[in-house]
């Protein structure tokens, strides 16, 4: 046992003497979270719009006022004719134009129908979609409040965004980044540190020594378990205190699930280092084979439900997908183990498979 701890201590020396490793370990979580939290945001605030009001009456003035006071829009300018619409879009800062037909209020009262047109700049389709929907909602609300037209008994759904009432992007990114970073640190770092010993030739010496192979592997992995776990805590704390992402569920359960996920990623890292002998290949494999799928196929950014069936199947074999589901369930919905036991079992299954494969590979590797 004493031999073993000497080995673990040595491993910590390696980590703390390499500033690049340290940077990845502790700089990455903060930087990633800040980047994703602040830069990539789906929320719309102060989108610049223009209004072409051919009617200029009481009602159109009211509607415009409502739209601007919603906080989503900023009235950039009033247009005087149709010809200016195209021009404003081309200038690039105007994202949406609202056009009121002539005699708006009059038509509304006499015929019950009035023309209003909402034009979005769909060169950025997502934003355009969101903006137009917001605007439409505001207009509808206003018309309902006027109680005019031939829709006296209209059903008005009251929408509430459960678990994330303000539709904040960070709610999505905290679980996603946790999945991504823990995978990166655990799988990438361990596979690199093991292949490095192979490249240096020190692995041979270790194998000749009385240390058992399992001690060597566990000894190499323990420091990363600890560090990855610290990272998980950093992410949760930053989420809570910088971005106000709540932890509704049991924090202990959340940490235990994080621990399970770390062990899963580590065993994947071990498997990678058993397959290859070079740090380069280990790094490429970890980055390409793990990072991209983690970002694209885990439901982190793009919803799995919208993908083609084949990709959906591919998503099902991505461990991060399950972890993200678990984290969301615990953090945002406050669910207990009862609701995530299936995903938990799947993660345990992945871990077992990776470890079994590694053991098999490692034994073969000892040979020639």
């Amino acid at each position: 046992m004493k031999r073993f701890w000497g080995f673990v201590v040595k491993e910590f020396y390696h980590i703390f003497r390499d500033y690049r490793t340290l940077l990845i370990l502790f700089g990455m979580p903060a930087v990633q979270l800040l980047l994703f939290g602040y830069v990539i945001t789906n929320e719309i605030k102060n989108a610049r719009i223009a209004v072409l009001d051919l009617s200029k009456d009481e009602v159109t003035r009211k509607i415009t006022e409502k739209i601007v006071s919603s906080g989503y829009f900023l009235l950039e300018k009033n247009l005087t004719g149709y010809h200016e619409i195209e021009e404003s879009f081309k200038q690039g800062n105007i994202k949406m134009v609202i056009v009121y037909g002539a005699e708006f209020s009059g038509n509304l009262q006499k015929k019950g129908v009035a023309d209003i047109q909402i034009l979005g700049d769909a060169s950025d389709p997502n934003t355009a979609n969101i903006l137009v929907n917001y605007a439409r909602g505001i207009v509808n609300n206003y018309l309902v409040s006027l109680n005019v037209g031939d829709i006296p008994a209209m059903v008005v759904p009251e929408v509430r965004m459960q678990y994330n009432p303000e539709l904040k992007g960070v709610y999505m990114f905290v679980p996603g980044i946790m999945a991504m970073l823990l995978m990166l640190i655990s799988a990438l770092m361990t596979s690199i540190s093991i292949t490095r010993e192979k490249e240096l030739g020190t692995m041979e010496l270790l194998l000749v020594s009385p240390l058992r192979p399992v001690q060597i592997i566990v000894g190499k992995v323990i420091p990363y378990v600890l560090l990855a776990f610290i990272d998980a805590c950093i992410i949760i704390l930053m989420g809570k205190y910088v971005f106000n992402v709540p932890v509704e569920g049991n924090i202990l359960l959340l940490l235990m699930e994080a621990f399970l996920y770390i062990v899963m990623a580590l065993s994947l890292g071990i498997l990678i280092s058993c397959i290859t002998n070079s740090q380069q290949i280990a790094m490429t494999m970890s980055l390409l084979a793990l990072m991209l799928p983690t970002i694209l196929l885990s439901g982190f950014i793009f919803p799995v439900e919208n993908m083609p069936v084949i990709l959906q199947w591919l998503c099902r074999i991505m461990p991060p997908k399950y972890f993200i589901t678990i984290v969301k369930a615990i953090m945002l919905k406050g669910n207990g183990l009862l609701y995530v036991w299936k995903e938990t079992l799947i993660l345990i299954g992945f871990t077992t498979i990776f470890i079994l494969l590694s053991v098999k590979k490692f034994n073969v590797r000892l040979e020639p």
């Binding site: 004493k2 031999r3 000497g6 080995f7 040595k10 020396y13 390696h14 003497r17 390499d18 240096l200 030739g201 020190t202 041979e204 010496l205 270790l206 194998l207 000749v208 020594s209 009385p210 240390l211 000892l366 040979e367 020639p368």
Partner: protein
């Protein structure tokens, strides 16, 4: 000089096959206690395969192998405790200091803290490494690394030390100095099993074996081999044997 003593390595009819390829073809040899045994052969002759088997890194296909009095099939753990190993890459950790490397390797062989401190002090004095004690390995010259790698390989007083081309890439004077360390270890009763490319080093060995294509084609004291083949140095012995296929 070693014939009368107990044998540290006994190998009988050792065969190692990789598929159809026979890497070690019925090797039979013995190495006595304190002997410096040179294990020579061209690249690909099967030296590394044999040394890996002796170190317990790989199982033979068939044959009897006994190292330090223990059976390779059933007593691997005992063998590991009683051997040292140094590879051609002087495998030390670049980002650890001289002292940390010594402490680490002594530690994995289960030496106590006091033993480690004592032996590290003696070792560093002997190698004149005192002032380099806290230097990182990457900052010390190759020759020092080599000596240190060897000293670390025998820090736990093994019965046998396996040296796999321990002098690659260093200059002749450093090599000569290095052999003095080997002789000293041998005088202290450590059996030395060494592979090398340099035929001048073969002359330093008590006995050598020469492997060609997986078989041992000659094994004797260097002087006897030279006499047998009627040549003046080991290099020519080697060339004669290696050419005959």
């Amino acid at each position: 000089m070693a014939e009368e003593k107990e044998n540290m390595i006994v190998v009988k009819e050792l065969v190692k096959k990789f598929g159809n390829f026979v890497a070690n073809d019925h090797l039979t040899f013995e190495v006595g206690k304190g002997e410096v045994f040179g294990f020579l052969g061209a690249n690909g002759a099967g030296k590394t395969t044999a040394i890996r088997i002796l170190c317990g890194l790989s199982y033979p296909t068939s044959g009897l192998v006994n190292v330090a009095g223990f059976d390779i099939y059933t007593e691997r753990e005992n063998i590991k405790r009683n051997i040292g190993y140094m590879s051609q890459r002087f495998s030390l950790y670049d980002d650890l200091t001289v002292y940390e490397n010594i402490r680490f390797y002594a530690g994995i062989y289960g030496l106590s803290r006091n033993e480690i401190r004592e032996r590290a002090d003696i070792l560093m004095q002997k190698l004149n490494l005192d002032e380099a004690r806290n230097k990182l390995i990457r900052d010390i010259p190759l020759g020092w690394k080599q000596k240190l790698a060897f000293s670390v390989a025998i820090i736990h007083d093994p019965r046998i030390v396996f040296l796999d081309e321990p002098t690659g890439g260093v200059d002749p004077i450093t090599r000569r100095n290095f052999w003095n360390l080997i002789f000293e270890a041998s005088r202290n009763g450590i059996t030395v099993f060494v592979t090398t490319h340099y035929m001048d080093e073969a002359e330093y060995c008590d006995r050598v074996s020469i492997m060609v294509d997986g078989r041992i084609v000659a094994m004797d004291k260097p002087a006897m081999l030279k006499e047998q083949y009627g040549v003046v140095n080991m290099n020519e012995v080697f060339l004669k044997l290696a050419r005959v296929k």
